[in-house]
Symmetry: C3
Subunit: 398 residues, 3 copies
Amino acid sequence: MPHAGIQEKIHRLSGTPNDLHDRDVLLTWEISDTGIRSLVRGAEILRDLHRAGLSTRVFESGLGVSIFRDQSTRTRYSFRSGCDLLGLMTEELDESTSQIVHGETVRETATMISFLTEVIGIRDDIFLGEGHRYMRDVAGSLDDSRREGVLDHRPAVINLQSDLDHPTQSVSDLCHLAEHFGGLDNLRGKKLAMTWAYSPSYGKPLSVPQGVVALMTRFGLDVALAHPRGYGLVEEPLERARTFAEASGGTFRTVESMEEAFDGADIVYPKSWAPYEVMEERTRRRRTGETSRLDELERECLMQNAKHMEWECTEEMMGRTREGRALYMHCLPADISGVSCDDGEVAASVFERHRLSTYREAAWKPFVIASMVLATRFRESASVLFECLDRGRARRPL
Amino acid sequence: MPHAGIQEKIHRLSGTPNDLHDRDVLLTWEISDTGIRSLVRGAEILRDLHRAGLSTRVFESGLGVSIFRDQSTRTRYSFRSGCDLLGLMTEELDESTSQIVHGETVRETATMISFLTEVIGIRDDIFLGEGHRYMRDVAGSLDDSRREGVLDHRPAVINLQSDLDHPTQSVSDLCHLAEHFGGLDNLRGKKLAMTWAYSPSYGKPLSVPQGVVALMTRFGLDVALAHPRGYGLVEEPLERARTFAEASGGTFRTVESMEEAFDGADIVYPKSWAPYEVMEERTRRRRTGETSRLDELERECLMQNAKHMEWECTEEMMGRTREGRALYMHCLPADISGVSCDDGEVAASVFERHRLSTYREAAWKPFVIASMVLATRFRESASVLFECLDRGRARRPL
Amino acid sequence: MPHAGIQEKIHRLSGTPNDLHDRDVLLTWEISDTGIRSLVRGAEILRDLHRAGLSTRVFESGLGVSIFRDQSTRTRYSFRSGCDLLGLMTEELDESTSQIVHGETVRETATMISFLTEVIGIRDDIFLGEGHRYMRDVAGSLDDSRREGVLDHRPAVINLQSDLDHPTQSVSDLCHLAEHFGGLDNLRGKKLAMTWAYSPSYGKPLSVPQGVVALMTRFGLDVALAHPRGYGLVEEPLERARTFAEASGGTFRTVESMEEAFDGADIVYPKSWAPYEVMEERTRRRRTGETSRLDELERECLMQNAKHMEWECTEEMMGRTREGRALYMHCLPADISGVSCDDGEVAASVFERHRLSTYREAAWKPFVIASMVLATRFRESASVLFECLDRGRARRPL
């Protein structure tokens, strides 16, 4: 029987209730363990169907609308291709050419872009306390409009990176780990080092490390977070990480140095982010309209970073990990010393050795986003996948 | 029998000849009464089919191209989603990244973007005497290229707002009125107040009030237009409104105050637009290349507006309408006092009470645009809709 | 039997091996004669199927990604509509809103935009020695990622204009010539004048004349290239033109004046391009970061052009061609004297007489691009076309 493996996976997916139906994907810690596992399974099945050359087009029409308030290559592509994989056309709402500047309220815009829309993806990650709130506002407005009958249906909101979490990234990372170690259950007891690293480029958001520690602690990993003084993270995901670690039998601790985090690690995730106080000040200045002073703040941020140039994932540092062979992870693009900058997050030889692995990590994202669309839009998402398998329609001629 | 209601509506649509086939939608007053009624019916049927979960994808390939020379959220989304509903991919022609600046002529561009295109949507509403002329030029060029065999077919041009008319808005407004009052025929004798209102934002186009008075007078409504001295409209649509009112048994009059227009009204449409002389001066400066002085003119416009801040749709003003319960309409976004600005077109409490109703009004636009595409592209548009109903293909899994 | 002509054409196409399968389209001179003929045939068949109202949608999902590093109207539209014709959704990678500026390497970006992508189209034509190299780098990166299993498949790269060649243009030109003269074999012995012409607009790329001489010499034409001193072209395509002319029984020579090239010509292609030294200096300044001095260089370029205003395709000049009736060609937009500029490449009366013909020339491009996609993506591209004919699915209702 062809595709027996895929059938088996869908069968397993169908065995658990889909509690993401008609909901949003804003923070992984608001999703049940079952929900997270289903997202991973859904992504695996979609990738398997794609590799088997089978069409997963399930929508005859409908839109995926994206709003990017920060730059993006990978996530933008992943959203568009993930939507296309299911048959949704995509549209990017460009706030500079829309009427939003003319006093349009969030709740109004949310409804206006939803009449024929299945999913709205939002990136808003620069200002602490703003991105997640904006997504909540959009989601709440959709609830209102659905309840009042203005909308026939309610699109799902998918967080494409906020100030709090980056679920399309962290779930892709989880898929990658599951594939690398042979299943989610094999992650138990693995040591993961989520560490700050030096970068000469802009003051990056905090959501990747926050998302990683709050998600990986749920699967029994021993997660160590390391960063220089002044580079702390938002408390909410840290608190979640502590609670999850306890519940899952894993651990979560904060250590003082990259060395300490790397010692004996199975997985390392060295990555730059902005100093917490710079993030706070950035938000403060925006609120008070001092936007002309954001560049100045950016320079301060980079100067502060420059005091910690020794936080680099070098060969020597990698040598401290388990048998010197830890899995190196990164959400990309990485700041590679001697390649994309003089001194950066990672030595060129280390990155080069793990480069293709980071590409494989990134390759999950379109499927993870498509999996999130399926889970949020269909009560019986497993049935939808079964139907794709059964009809056996080719994605393209050979 | 399922969907008997839809079948009945399509049956009625098929009973009238489609005189929009192979034509454009530039000005509603160039379309016959039958044509307007068919557009409304088409939009209703498409919405019914959508709600019934049936696919209305009728194109296997083909493009909808849009050109926006002014900002847009709603209409841009409506064009894209209306096209997608029928299976057309959309492309926006961004004049800043195209070669149009390098001396490309309108007639050339028109043909170049038409080879595989079914519909071209254009917004060009800022300069009096220019937007409509541009659309005519595009349409004329397509005629030429079709006649000469350069094009196998001729795309329809749809006005997404010009200096003269805004048919996708006014027909959506008409659909909303028909739904609210239980049918187009029930609009006879209803009193509609189309009035200017104060706004602190930019000098808005005249096409919404022009489009509303020139369309609603055709359905027997008693239309009163009110605005401060100096805020007159283009003569052509006013002349049409007078003629239409006479023919339909309705009335059309211009009054001196918002109060007078609101007295006993069933429907009110208070909305800001720029002073006529500012619109003329804007066009003059553009023609003479004084574009650096457009900002200055914008300030003058806003200062002139500020003399009429009492033109606000307040609770007191609404109290003058029939039983104090007129239907409030707006094309959105509205300038809401205390919400999107200090003083604006409408009091916050009035807008809030009617907010969802304005969203319902806006919800018609994707279906109205799709209806325009069907009517202009297919001689037997009713047959195309019957086929969608008969084949019963689901728009998406449940 | 309906569509017997189309069937016959597909039959002929199927008789030759498709050596473009799993390859790129970067330079026509790297493609075999058979390959070029197949691209022309493919475009003809796709146009015939389109005119016959038959759907050529062969992809259920998949993306065409474009990267434009220079302005474009025609090619951008052609890429999108050519992809749509086959069922691919398109996405334009906007480098200004992506993270490419943050040190992302070419090889990384190439993989990141390829996971669900069938074709990547790139325009990069401003800097000598850069555009083609960039495309090669992208192609090489895709080879790596495919070999390493990071990509399940490898998208084709299609050159949408580089510093060396402009194959979607030159193959469209070839289709136009084949149609005009009744077949590719009828081009033998025809005289083609590829000449420089004066333009007051920016310093245009060299790839159109390079592409035309390197392609047309393969089909037995007698090609004369003419330009003022200092407007030479890149050596590689010129060398190819000489070799191809010898092999095909045609000729290739460089002459000193537009007059000499036009004498007795069957086809004329008068078109502006930048002085070679300006192109070199432009590249040098970019490499040394003197980007602020690019505008200054642009002015020098236009001043140098202005010394050669007599290079204009006038009525008198056309009078020198065979019976005064040569076919006038242009890639558009042309700089038309008295229309798009005071003095330009071509007299208004000459352009007007040939205007529709240039539109027909341009009309080939969407089909040529679709033909390139079919040839590069499917080993048996003829079978794919047969299947489109056999299933007889309508592209749209009538």
